[in-house]
């Protein structure tokens, strides 16, 4: 049945195939549309430009680290330290601005800090061979501690128009976060589907031992991915600090889970080997739409949690049933 193979083969390579792959994410689009419809009916303001802008901007901001996390998860690994990176980056950047340095420089320094955290993760994971889960969990704790110690529990308050532009500015009427996300998404798509690096990431996620045996630069790729996640976390931190005009040890608590969540509900398997850029974007929009809707409906916090939880499960159930996974393939997390 060498002849039978093509019938089933997911034509992974050519663009048409990519498209059909993208459409495989439809199950996520279904609940998205449903929710949108419900909200349009339930609230008069959901479809207002202001509101949709809010949703898109919020989705864009979480999508940037989400896309980086997509690489990491496609590689079959986690990075739990993002939330702390957000905090530290913002803290450093704002402290530098307060210290009278030009905002641009401060932001670069902030990103470098993010990259450094990523590099730390990468080295601990590759050179010391520590399980990513623990390694990044440890950096989560450490970096949070560093950020608190660095700020001494005192917020670094700034009022910098340059920093502000990052989150609130507009180019040709398009909000900056959306621009950034669009660029990131295109880059991510290209890297994942078109470059050797992207293929190697998936290869490692698919079978790391084989990757090593095939002579792929496994450790280098893994480290690079962690650095990318670190930088993305840095960007996230800058955006948050830009919105709030401050850096603080308190920011970014629990963000790591947000980032991982959108990736996973976007359909990227935690087992690694496959990455869905489109899925991650949809995931971000879905989550933010739900959150926004609940706010518009003025839902009390208790019910907010329940609704988000249930909607997550429902969305994924639909996806699972659509995929009609065989009973035993449950563990593709």
């Amino acid at each position: 049945m060498t002849t039978a193979a093509p019938e089933r083969a997911v034509r992974a390579a050519d663009p048409r195939a990519r498209l059909s792959r993208a459409i495989e994410n439809a199950p996520l689009a279904v609940p998205l549309v449903l929710i949108a419809v419900v909200l349009t009916v339930a609230t008069d303001r959901f479809l207002s430009v202001d509101n949709l802008t809010n949703v898109v901007v919020a989705a864009g901001i979480v999508a940037i680290p989400g896309l980086a996390m997509t690489l990491c998860i496609a590689m079959g690994e986690f990075d739990l330290s993002v939330g702390s990176t957000v905090s530290l980056t913002g803290a450093v950047t704002c402290t530098w601005i307060v210290g009278g340095h030009p905002a641009g420089l401060a932001m670069v320094v902030g990103l470098l800090v993010g990259a450094a955290v990523g590099l730390l993760n990468g080295l601990v994971v590759t050179k010391l061979g520590v399980t990513p889960f623990i390694a990044t969990l440890a950096t989560l704790v450490i970096v949070r501690g560093v950020s608190l110690a660095y700020t001494g529990g005192r917020d670094a308050i700034v009022s910098s128009s340059t920093l502000k532009f990052l989150a609130a500015g507009r180019v040709f009427g398009v909000p900056m976060p959306v621009v950034l996300t669009a660029v990131t998404a295109l880059a991510a798509w290209w890297v994942v589907n078109r470059t050797r690096f992207g293929r190697w990431v998936c290869a490692i996620g698919s079978n790391r031992e084989a990757a090593r045996m095939s002579g792929l630069p496994v450790d280098r790729v893994r480290t690079t991915v962690y650095v990318i996640v670190g930088v993305a976390g840095g960007i996230w931190g800058l955006l948050i600090s830009s919105q709030l005009q401050k850096g603080s040890g308190q920011l970014g608590l629990g963000f790591e889970l947000d980032a991982i969540t959108i990736v996973v509900i976007g359909g990227t398997s935690l087992l690694g080997g496959r990455a869905s850029v489109v899925g991650t974007l949809l995931g971000a929009v879905l989550i933010e739409t739900i959150r926004n809707g609940l706010n518009l409906l003025n839902t009390p916090p208790a019910y907010q949690r329940i609704s988000i939880g249930l909607l997550l499960v429902v969305a994924l159930t639909i996806q699972a049933l659509r995929r009609n996974a065989p009973a035993e393939a449950l563990d593709d997390v």
């Binding site: 202001d50 809010n54 009390p300």
Partner: protein, 307 residues
């Protein structure tokens, strides 16, 4: 019931070797850093020893750590409880060891503590409402829609601020169109405010349960192209530096100042009375309460709170 808590230690105890244990809510927050500073300085002024325990916003850590302080043989326990209702086992152990317990703010959880110093959250919310009404009028805004951002649902004491605010503002004929929890987090408050503005563009005021959220809301208002003072009256709570700075720059209308350091000092005074076996002086005998006033901070009096 013991309104006169005779601290178990023989009175006239050589003041040198009194050890005060202070279990603090969470040293990450400036409010409690100030409270710790006030307490420690008052203790050292008495030439006593000072043992600190940080609850790190965790009820488990609170119970374990505070009980550990008792085990380490402190002569009096001052505690600002993360969860007042978790005070039971602590106070019970203290009673058994005959160690007086002074509670600093938050709440007493219905335990037989010796005294509690509380800053008047409800009054703070009320003052915020009154000021908002006055400023809205000054801004000449027509609409009567306001937003109220609460802390995490579990922070019972802080909830009193929003309850009092809502009550008062409604009495003044306003309408709370959005009341959501920002879980005390600036990021969430920012999003909530954005969404609230999308929902009701004609909102005229917002009250947040703490300053990080208040300032975040102000930033959201700015990013939505409105003015967080002239356009929408924005009031926070706590008089954290970020709020004070913002008020000075005209980026926030007002906040409510508490005096954590002063409260710390008060608790140590009560501690001294308890240790020396004297009678404790309360503002409210029946509930063994000592009140700490809260003050409204606006750009008129912000200077005193700067630095």
């Amino acid at each position: 019931d013991s309104t006169t808590a005779e601290g178990g230690k023989p009175s006239g105890k050589a003041s040198g070797d009194v050890t005060v244990g202070f279990s603090v809510y969470d040293m990450q927050y400036e409010f409690f850093q100030k409270m710790e500073k006030g307490t420690r300085e008052a203790v050292e002024a008495k030439g006593w020893k000072f043992k600190l325990h940080d609850e790190k916003s965790d009820e488990n850590e609170m119970v374990t750590g505070a009980q550990a302080l008792l085990d380490q043989g402190v002569d009096v326990l001052i505690i600002s409880p993360f969860k007042p209702d978790a005070l039971g086992p602590i106070v019970a152990k203290a009673k058994q060891k005959k160690i007086p317990v002074i509670i600093d703010d938050i709440g007493g959880g219905g335990t037989p503590y010796d005294a509690i110093v509380i800053s008047d959250n409800a009054d703070g919310g009320k003052q915020a409402a009154d000021y908002m009404v006055q400023q809205v009028a000054a801004n000449g805004a027509k609409s009567k829609k306001v937003v109220s951002i609460t802390c995490e649902p579990s922070a019972v004491y802080a909830a009193r601020r929003n309850q009092a605010f809502d009550q008062q503002i409604k009495d003044k004929g306003f309408q709370v169109v959005t009341e959501l929890s920002g879980n005390s987090k600036a990021e969430e408050a920012y999003k909530i405010m954005k969404d609230a503005l999308a929902k009701d563009p004609d909102v005229v005021g917002v009250f947040a349960c703490n300053d990080p959220m208040g300032v975040a809301a102000a930033n959201a208002i700015k990013d939505a192209g409105k003015d967080p003072v002239k356009g929408i009256v924005t009031v926070g709570f706590n008089a954290d530096p970020e709020a004070v700075t913002a008020i000075g720059k005209g980026g926030l209308s007002a906040t409510i100042a508490q005096d954590p350091a002063g409260m710390g000092a008060k608790t140590v005074e009560l501690a001294a009375q308890a240790v020396n076996g004297g009678k404790l002086t309360y503002d409210d005998e029946t509930n063994r309460e000592v009140f700490q006033k809260v003050t409204l901070v606006t750009k008129d009096n912000v200077a005193q709170f700067a630095g």
